[in-house]
Amino acid sequence: MGNLKDKYCIVGVGETDYSRNSGRSVRALGVEAVRKAMNDAGLKPDEIDGMLSYHGNDSTTAPAISHDLGMRLNFYMDCSGGGSSTEALVSLAIGLIENGNCHTVALYRSMNGYSEARIGGTPAAARPAAATITGPALESLSYGLSSAAQNFQFTFARHMYEYGTTSEQLATVKVIHSEHASNNPKAYYKKRVTVDDVLSSRWVVKPACHLLDCCVETDNATCIIITSADRARYLKQRPVHILSVAGRVGKPFQGMHYQCDPITRQAGYYGSRIVFRQAGVEPEDIQLTGCYDAFTFTPLLLFEGFGFARPGEGGDYITSGVMRLGGKRPNNTSGGHLCEAYTHGMNMVIENVRQLRHQADDSCPRWQEGIHTYDHREGGCRQVKDVELAMNMGWAMPALCSSLIMRR
């Protein structure tokens, strides 16, 4: 981003409840999330003139949401996308403001990810009796290869073979994120779990995905609002400045990345160059991370890809305690996709925005004033003390990443 460093800010965040039975349309969810982010920022409807969203044919559209909130937009785009789209849309929003199309952009993701359209497949009751396999799906569905856990499993298995990564190391990701979620009243799963709990949960796909290695599936909508630093100064919240962003950075051979070794290398290997160079910081400077934890394995590969751990040493990074609240560089302090909710990436960005405001919405009585106990025991505080610099690492698959570095 070069000269755009510090010129744009996230000024509002909002989300619905995280549930498995919203009982509402994705339009109703989306409107609520956008409205909450707008109110969080202290903006009026006519002060938002751009809207971006991503979906997998399971969401609502920007025209619907802007209609329901009385907004007249100068630009909108509802993109096809999943993991790593949040950061990608942050990048697009900055471009829209920079080129004069808009001045303030809301981006959202709305999904009934449990009760309507589950990522691994629609609920059993809604499945057609006979599927049709055609086109590129011939290469996967013919072999019973359909879900995200399966799509990534060759990478996971090969990493275990090449580097000796263990199920216990992976389970530790879930354990730590569950500790963080226990201090997050919003989290869908607030109960702390043990390594044994993960290892004794049923298998979904061997060798890397027990049920508790997989993220939660939930109904929710999430929203963040971006504007220029000049405008941000006059809004309600302390602005969180964007130092750099990379959206949907790929490895070669996107058509079938398993053709290209090393298959255990995450695309963060490439994305890291963009975000660290443009932010002018190093991994060592980052005090808080947010990783797309669709599975326990995905943060491990992101840490290696982005240079927080050397190739093959992601397991050691996880068990070292560095990513635990109170550690040197906590990860997913809200509980992330494994415990808080599955939002296709946005809740980890929202969490880092609140952390950088020093307003993690935990059980500390005065969190809204930024006053915390920093007692991270169960049910307590989850604010990272004095955090100034945070990073998000998005995942769509092993060969695709995104990233965002923000400062207080």
């Binding site: 049709t132 055609t134 019973g144 290869l145 298995a157 061997k206 060798p207 890397a208 053709q259 070794d261």
Partner: protein
């Protein structure tokens, strides 16, 4: 209509990257795309050559022999059609014909092979999945085919009698 495990198996006549693959499979030949200009073999179907951008290519028969490069054991019927198969293996097979060609002068340490995804099935019955205990990285495999009708077949892999390429590895689970 072509059916496989209760699913409609539709290969469009204009699907130039897939049609010939499944028709040759019915003759029990495993084919990959070969670039007519630079000769690169493509493990995954595509319309152009990632090495030289050539749009000209032909189907090239390969031996169907290879090594398991990675694997997974699916223990839950995420696709209902596979309910009678769980647990079943899906393998990523490194074919013998093209191993580790440097990509862009290997500036990033990247190498291209020819890899195919299929199930690992029983040597004597390609309609049955191999036992999970027998699936391991490094084991040698060979292609076999499930005939779907008189026009199309689905390639699969089975363990071969050759010794493993290296000490076989499977996760201790």
């Amino acid at each position: 209509m072509t059916m496989y495990k209760g699913m409609r198996f539709v290969v469009s006549p204009v699907d130039s990257e897939h049609r010939g693959f499944y028709e040759h499979a019915r003759q029990h030949r495993l084919m990959v795309q070969k670039c007519s200009d630079c000769g690169l073999l493509r493990g995954a179907p595509g319309a152009g050559c990632p090495f030289c951008t050539s749009l000209k290519w032909t189907w090239q028969q390969v031996s169907g022999k290879g090594t398991i490069y990675s694997y997974q054991i699916v223990t839950q019927a995420i696709q209902p059609a596979f309910r009678d198969w769980v647990p079943y293996a899906i393998v990523l097979v490194d074919l013998d014909e093209q191993r580790r060609v440097p990509w862009r002068n290997a500036e990033e340490g990247e190498y291209i092979s020819v890899r195919m995804v299929a199930n690992l099935v029983k040597p004597n019955d390609p309609t049955k999945p191999e036992d999970q205990e027998n699936v391991a990285i490094g084991k040698r495999v060979e292609v076999c085919f499930i005939d779907l009708d008189d026009k199309l077949a689905l390639p699969q892999f089975r363990l071969s009698n050759e010794p493993p390429e290296h000490t076989p590895w499977r996760a201790p689970v």
